[in-house]
């Protein structure tokens, strides 16, 4: 196989030259170089495919099974915490007046306490080996213990004072303030920030996967074209050098290469589309609505506190206004103006309610659930205004906002479920697209190399 012996023998044969059977450039080393180049390019293409597919898979894991669910778990935690606080404030507001409503609030408080414990455990489990998150969750656990104790003290004081609705004595209000401040100033922000931290993890995983798939698409395309060119080059070389127009093995190798190039590009593209759907249409909107859900419950708590604590009523009205602006922005100086603008901009029935930004309006789509949620939100703001004007007993005023809030909460859940469904479908489709792909790639590599070398093997034998 050494160069000096084989080359002169072929080129010096006048008959072979005259019959044009042997192309002057044909030689085993040249053949091998071309075959090795083709196989290397094929290997590069398939490796790039495998790397991009693995990156996509990692991102799907983070988005669909780690940080994604953690976002849900931490918003559940926020909601349960905030609603527990709403029940405590409700019990303190009602006093001895409305035993039915008080009984319902007590039952709900007990239910929320169970949910808080479950959500804390779930969040702790999902935090895995993320130390910062675990520390935060442990802080929430400890502070929640303090909250329960402060709430119990306020409820005990209320029981001893036995007052009618809306007449909570100062020591009860003061005891509740301590609990409420702990809730709004520590527990809720900690859980809300945990949600955002996990949303950051999702975004980072998504961006990373996007970059890798983009790079993967390009490398696969370039390497695939080089592999094809190398196979064709080899084919031409054989045709010219040995007078065979088609080499069956190489034809199969070329076809398989084309097939994998096409499939690979299509799978990566489908993967990218599925991830984009899951992230942008599903996750981002679901996250926005989950945050809307949390903020809305805190807004309801502000309503109960407004009734309970006269001295701080102004501040609870202002924090409620802030939350309303965060849910759906309207340029307004106060709640009355806000409701007027809201009524004006949503009175026309367009496909989606006009939005000027906000956690609630960012989740709007052209679905029926969207208008139901928008109308329920408006009804809640109207009920809020009626509650502030103050006709009827405190229990009645609270009951009307509670009813409006419950209706709104249900509508919001329905809208959020639509986005969650899009999110889950996106993750499922993404996972389906790359399932088995990882297994098929090594098999493809082996078969392509085999076809290439069996294609040149008979020609190599001619030199012996």
């Amino acid at each position: 196989m050494s160069l000096p012996r084989t080359v002169p023998r072929l080129e010096d044969d006048p008959l072979a030259l005259r019959l044009d059977l042997v192309h002057p450039t044909a030689s085993p080393p040249r053949l091998l170089v071309r075959a090795v180049a083709a196989v290397l390019a094929l290997a590069a293409m398939l490796t790039a495919l495998a790397v991009a597919a693995a990156a996509a898979n990692d991102a799907l894991d983070v988005i669909g099974h780690e940080a994604g669910p953690q976002v849900v778990a931490t918003t559940d935690l926020y909601f349960a915490l905030s609603d527990a606080d709403a029940q405590v404030a409700t019990l303190l507001l009602l006093g001895t007046s409305d035993p039915d409503a008080a009984g319902a609030a007590e039952a709900r408080y007990a239910q929320r306490r169970g949910e808080i414990a479950a959500a804390l455990l779930e969040a702790h489990r999902l935090a895995g080996d993320d130390d910062a998150q675990r520390t935060t969750i442990e802080t929430v656990m400890a502070r929640y213990g303090e909250y329960e104790q402060l709430a119990a003290e306020a409820l005990l004081l209320a029981q001893q004072a036995a007052y009618p609705q809306g007449e909570a004595p100062p020591e009860v209000v003061a005891a509740y303030r301590e609990a409420g401040d702990l809730m709004s100033g520590q527990l809720l922000p900690l859980s809300y920030n945990l949600t955002l931290e996990n949303a950051t993890t999702v975004r980072e995983a998504y961006d990373r996967a996007e970059d890798r798939i983009d790079a993967g698409l390009l490398i696969v395309a370039v390497a695939g074209l080089i592999a094809l060119a190398a196979l064709v080059w080899l084919q031409i070389h054989l045709a010219r050098g040995f007078g065979r127009v088609f080499n069956p093995s190489l034809l199969v190798a070329t076809a398989v290469c084309l097939l994998y190039l096409g499939t690979g590009l299509a799978v990566l593209d489908a993967e990218q589309t599925a991830q984009e759907t899951a992230k942008v249409d599903g996750f981002d909107s679901a996250l926005s609505l989950a945050r809307a859900n949390a903020v809305s419950n805190a807004l309801y708590v502000d309503q109960v506190r407004y009734l309970l604590d006269d001295e701080r009523a102004a501040i609870y009205e202002q924090t409620l206004f802030d939350k309303a602006q965060a849910l759906h922005y309207e340029e307004a100086d106060n709640l009355d103006q806000y409701r007027e603008r809201l009524a004006a901009s949503w009175s026309l029935r367009s496909t989606t309610p006009p939005s000027t930004g906000g956690l609630l309006s960012d989740g709007f789509t052209a679905s029926d659930a969207t208008w139901t949620a928008a109308d329920a939100y408006r009804a809640l703001m109207d009920a809020d205004a009626a509650m502030r004007i103050g006709v009827g007993t405190d229990a009645e005023r609270l009951a009307s906002v509670r009813e409006a809030y419950d209706a709104y909460d249900t509508a919001l859940d329905a809208l959020a479920d639509e986005h969650l469904a899009v999110f889950r479908t996106g993750i499922d489709e993404g996972e389906k697209a790359i399932a088995d792909f990882g297994f098929l790639l090594p098999a493809a590599m082996v078969s392509l190399a085999a076809f290439t070398f069996t294609g040149i093997a008979p020609r190599l034998r001619e030199f012996r």
């Binding site: 100033g185 790079a215 102004a314 100086d333």
Partner: protein, 270 residues
Amino acid sequence: MRRTAPLLAAALALPLAAAGCTADDQSILDADVLRIAIQTDQPLIGWENEDGEYEGYDVDTARYIADHLGKEIEWVPVLTADRETVLLEDRADLTIASFSITQERKRDIDFAGPYAIAHQDLLVRAGDTEIASIADITGRRLCSTRGSNVSERINLEHGVSSVPVLAEDAIQCLEMLIDGRVDVIATDDRILAGLAWQSNGAARLVGAGYSEERLGIGMQPGDTAGCEAINRAITAMYADGTAELLMQQWFAPAGMDLSSIPIPQYEGCE
């Protein structure tokens, strides 16, 4: 093989070049130096001391964040009115200057944080016991610095009408309060704490806390990763006790109630 080698090299280099082109908007994380806009005329918050050094709660917050991100600081002193423009005109990367997050401002710039929760409060003469809440300023003379329209806002937002008396700045307000030309100053409790501290006991913080302000870190729009990194720095600042330490250091001597220091709930980075 000699001819394929450059091709392969080119194939490998292409995606790198492409990745470079698709990079997001500029991020503060890419720079070594952060240009941070601060106030230099707000005692306890951001001001220049006798030695010509900047100090105060906001200045320390800026230092903590820059340190956490591993960046050097280039200070950009700003007036209250320029806090937004320095960002829009690319003269600063961050504004840490008693800057309240509002939905209006969020339309032009982004906010990381909040890094602190402040309350609107009232400052009165030490001997004045009539004013205990926002409702008590009805008909009283309220100091209004140029362009702040504080009286009008209180009327609009809380339905309390006071008599506005114009002054140049907060320092003049304090002088007018002490010599009796106005009865009350209304603004961010941290600013009032600074004035109370400057008055040497002649003025008193009421503790009425009639409105909550979320103080954010102004950013040029579009830098999601930078915003998230700052939020992580703020989380660390609260988790390691620095935030509480700074509050105690700067505001406790001025008589601010620090019994429960709230943890800020982030706005979120879009």
